[in-house]
């Protein structure tokens, strides 16, 4: 493995790992707050128990997210010092703001997790709201920095060096809005569906447990609404791509030949050698319509660009298909639940519905990982689109396989432990039934209580 590939692998692995915990840090606090707010409104203790249970899971996930995020902020320099030397003055700003959002999130999460008996219920809920807000703000700032790598603005290029720097213009880059909205919605959808899946699984075994029913309703509401909205933000991003990153769009769609009235290809296998995408289902005019909202628009194909500026087409195309497919599953399920909620004022109750929710539990996370693959691999060979190649940014440090393997093993170990700890929490769920006689009091084991 050469050092550039090792550095890219370490970065990809670190991001893929961190994103799971980062999105939990964004969406779990919102769900905890909804549960706690329901408790304050209804005084139904089940909601309080639910908020406390979700808070425990959040505590574990947030801690791993905090430390893996620290690793990433250092890895920017450990792996890509030339990128940081070049881009730091332009795009360091959102990272500085993210620093403060992270501070606020950590401070108020401390109050939320350990302050149940120390602050008033309203102050406690407010602390939770601060966590949810600053989690979302963190995500916005970090994704703005990534959006800049896709559509760099806020400087003039003179002799390969940036002059006339404007960090605010850099933050307002063309991809910023689309990418941040897409990521935030993805975070709520992924976590909502994952949590809904866990509670649906437990409901299948214990059909009348109100604890899981309440949990399922909140998680599906959060995940469902965002899953239904997600295609709109995807459409916005598609248009930005068509204008600013036509190579990435062409790779995503497996679109080799420049065409007027280009078809949308679903599935299929792009072959760079023969410059064709085989076995795809083609929807006439689909791509032109999506990219430019005009069935007769010309969509540039990969053939219009030098071969050395193509990203790995097959990876980008397939990752994109996976992302869209997973998103569709979630959206359809959300619509099913929404129709039922509209007509019957209740979620569907059938075993088939619950099984579908269980099936779709990992879909949001699959979509997020696939979506980041599209964004990052689709930008190659550039680290800053059109300005700096990834190969120019890498550290001269030799032997980069060693840190790559070390961090991979470390993160695998953490992943196993986290899954095991969460599974332990889940298997020990409270039981709450409509008839009080059936209720089983469970001891609330809390740290050092």
């Amino acid at each position: 493995m050469d050092d550039l590939l090792a550095a890219r692998s370490q970065m990809a692995m670190s991001l893929a790992f961190h994103i799971i915990f980062a999105v939990a840090g964004i969406a779990m606090p919102l769900m905890m707050c909804i549960a706690e707010w329901r408790w304050l409104r209804t005084r139904d203790e089940t909601y309080l128990t639910l908020a406390k249970r979700w808070a425990k899971g959040t505590a574990i996930l947030f801690a791993v997210g905090a430390v893996s995020g620290t690793v990433l902020s250092f890895e920017l320099g450990l792996l890509w010092p030339e990128f940081m030397r070049w881009a730091g003055p332009i795009i360091g700003m959102p990272f500085s703001l993210e620093g403060f959002a992270f501070f606020t999130e950590a401070i108020f999460l401390g109050i939320y997790l350990y302050g149940w008996d120390r602050v008033s219920p309203r102050a406690h809920l407010l602390a939770g709201a601060m966590v949810a807000l600053s989690g979302a703000a963190s995500a916005i700032f970090v994704v703005i920095a990534n959006a800049w790598m896709n559509t760099p603005t806020g400087f003039q290029l003179v002799d390969g060096k940036p002059v006339d720097i404007d960090p605010i213009a850099a933050m307002m880059n063309p991809s910023a809005m689309g990418q941040t909205v897409h990521m935030l919605l993805a975070a709520y959808a992924a976590v909502g569906f994952a949590v809904a899946g866990v509670h649906a699984y437990l409901l299948l075994k214990d059909r009348n447990n109100l604890f899981h029913r309440h949990a399922l309703a909140i998680a599906l509401a959060v995940g469902g609404v965002t899953a239904i909205l997600q295609p709109l933000s995807g459409d916005l991003l598609g248009q930005t791509l068509a204008r600013y990153q036509p190579v990435k769009l062409a790779a995503m769609e497996g679109h080799f030949k420049t065409e007027q009235g280009a078809p949308l290809r679903i599935g299929g296998w792009p072959d760079e050698e023969s410059a064709t995408t085989r076995y795809a289902i083609e929807i006439p005019y689909g791509l032109s319509l999506l990219a430019f909202h005009d069935p007769q628009a010309v969509v540039k194909g990969l053939e219009d660009f030098p071969r050395d500026l193509w990203p790995p087409v097959a990876i980008v195309h397939i990752a994109f298909q996976v992302m869209v497919g997973a998103g569709m599953v979630m959206m359809l399920l959300a619509l099913w639940a929404a129709v039922s909620a509209w007509q019957r004022k209740a979620l569907p109750d059938s075993r088939w519905f619950l099984r579908s929710v269980v099936f779709s539990a990992p879909m949001g996370f699959i979509a997020i990982e696939a979506g980041w693959t599209v964004t990052e691999v689709g930008r190659q060979p550039w680290i800053i689109q059109g300005v700096m190649r990834t190969a120019e940014a890498v550290t001269p440090m030799p032997g980069l396989e060693i840190p790559f393997i070390t961090f991979t093993l470390l993160y695998l170990f953490l992943a196993v432990i986290v899954v095991w700890l969460i599974a332990r929490q889940v298997s020990d769920s409270p039981r709450v039934y409509a008839t009080p006689a059936d209720n089983v009091e469970r001891e609330e084991g809390y740290a050092f209580d």
Binding site: V64, A66, G77, L78, E82, W86
Partner: protein
């Protein structure tokens, strides 16, 4: 009015000082978890966990703040440090990851002794190792061996930090963090005997801090000649050194007399002065000898924006921190001690 790059370098020092005084003490708590002994071993560990549980993540963010100011306002310095010190930085990160996750895993794992001991060991060993690497990095930055240009040989990635001076600074940082933690824990302790345990630990580690300070000073002659020269010859050095010494002696005396609030104040002032003594001796260098505050600074517009972001952030941050500490660090021992020593 100092120039804006100097203000930002100062802000970085302020963040680093908070990291040492708060985050450093959390690592020090882990060290005392590792060295818990005697009849109240378990109570000591529970007190440490209770003291750092709600606050360690917030305290940890000071380090992130130092890094983001560095890479936004002084990108060449960040690039140089991250390249030449790749190995110790990676080792420190592994320590940070294991400390934080093991601490959390212990809080949420089974209450059985086995599970608790397993995570406790990972947490406490990582708490011991991480400050050493942090000190090694600081020592290497001062040594004059991390250059503006990237190293070109494999040796170049090792020589700047693999030397006695950086490791002495590492042990100095460890002693200082352990000392701070022990002093703070005397105030967190709710019963008299537990407080005595940490009082003795604070006194012992105060001696370790003194010994390590002397060793670092002696080694700096060859290990960090530029810094040493400034510490030896500049006009400001004696008032600063004397003030540090006075607070060190006062901290010990206050511990001896069981004036724990006073001891906490003196210990924190001592630690802050040690850091600022180093910071002033570094001036105007960020990375001795090639990168200075002015030649590594980003364009003025970036510096101005970061400065305003820091001010806006501080307005949000300090009240929030005050609230966090008021919720968790008031009452209990603090109040009792307050009434004993009005």
């Amino acid at each position: 009015m100092p120039s804006i790059e100097i203000l930002l370098a100062g802000a970085m020092m302020v963040a680093l000082t908070f990291y040492a005084l708060m985050g450093g003490a959390d690592f020090g708590g882990g060290v005392w978890d590792l060295f818990a002994f005697g009849p109240r071993k378990r109570a000591q560990r529970e007190l440490i966990a209770e003291a750092i549980g709600p606050i360690w993540e917030a305290n940890h963010v000071w380090l992130i703040l130092v890094i983001v100011i560095l890479f936004t306002a002084f990108p060449p310095a960040f690039a140089a440090v991250a390249t030449a010190l790749h190995i110790p930085l990676t080792l420190m990160l592994i320590g940070i990851v294991l400390r934080g996750s093991a601490f959390t895993f212990r809080s949420y794992d089974k209450r059985t002794d086995d599970a608790q001991r397993r995570w406790g060991r990972v947490f406490s060993i990582a708490s011991l190792i991480t400050p050493i690497w942090l000190g090694v990095i600081v020592g290497a930055i001062s040594s004059g061996k991390v250059r503006g240009e990237s190293p070109t040989t494999i040796d170049g990635f090792v020589v700047s930090w693999f030397a006695p001076f950086p490791f002495a600074v590492g042990l100095f940082a460890l002693a200082l963090f352990a000392f701070l933690a022990a002093v703070y824990l005397t105030l967190a302790a709710k019963d008299e005997s537990l407080r005595e345990d940490f009082r003795l630990r604070a006194l012992a580690s105060a001696i370790a801090v003194g010994v390590m300070a002397l060793i670092v000073f002696l080694l700096s002659a060859s290990g960090a000649p530029v810094i040493r020269e400034r510490l030896g010859q500049s006009w400001w050095t004696w008032p600063l050194q004397i003030a540090t010494g006075v607070f060190a002696v006062c901290a010990i005396a206050a511990l001896w007399k069981r004036r724990f609030r006073l001891a906490r104040f003196c210990a924190a002032a001592q630690a802050a002065l040690i850091l600022w003594g180093w910071g002033v001796a570094q001036y105007p260098y960020l990375v001795v000898p090639d990168l200075t505050i002015s030649n590594a600074a980003a364009p003025a517009i970036t510096l101005r924006l970061v400065w305003w972001a820091l001010i806006a952030g501080a307005v949000l941050l300090f009240p929030s921190f005050y609230y966090l500490f008021r919720v968790f660090k008031r009452g209990g021992a603090d109040a009792q001690i307050g009434s004993e020593h009005p």
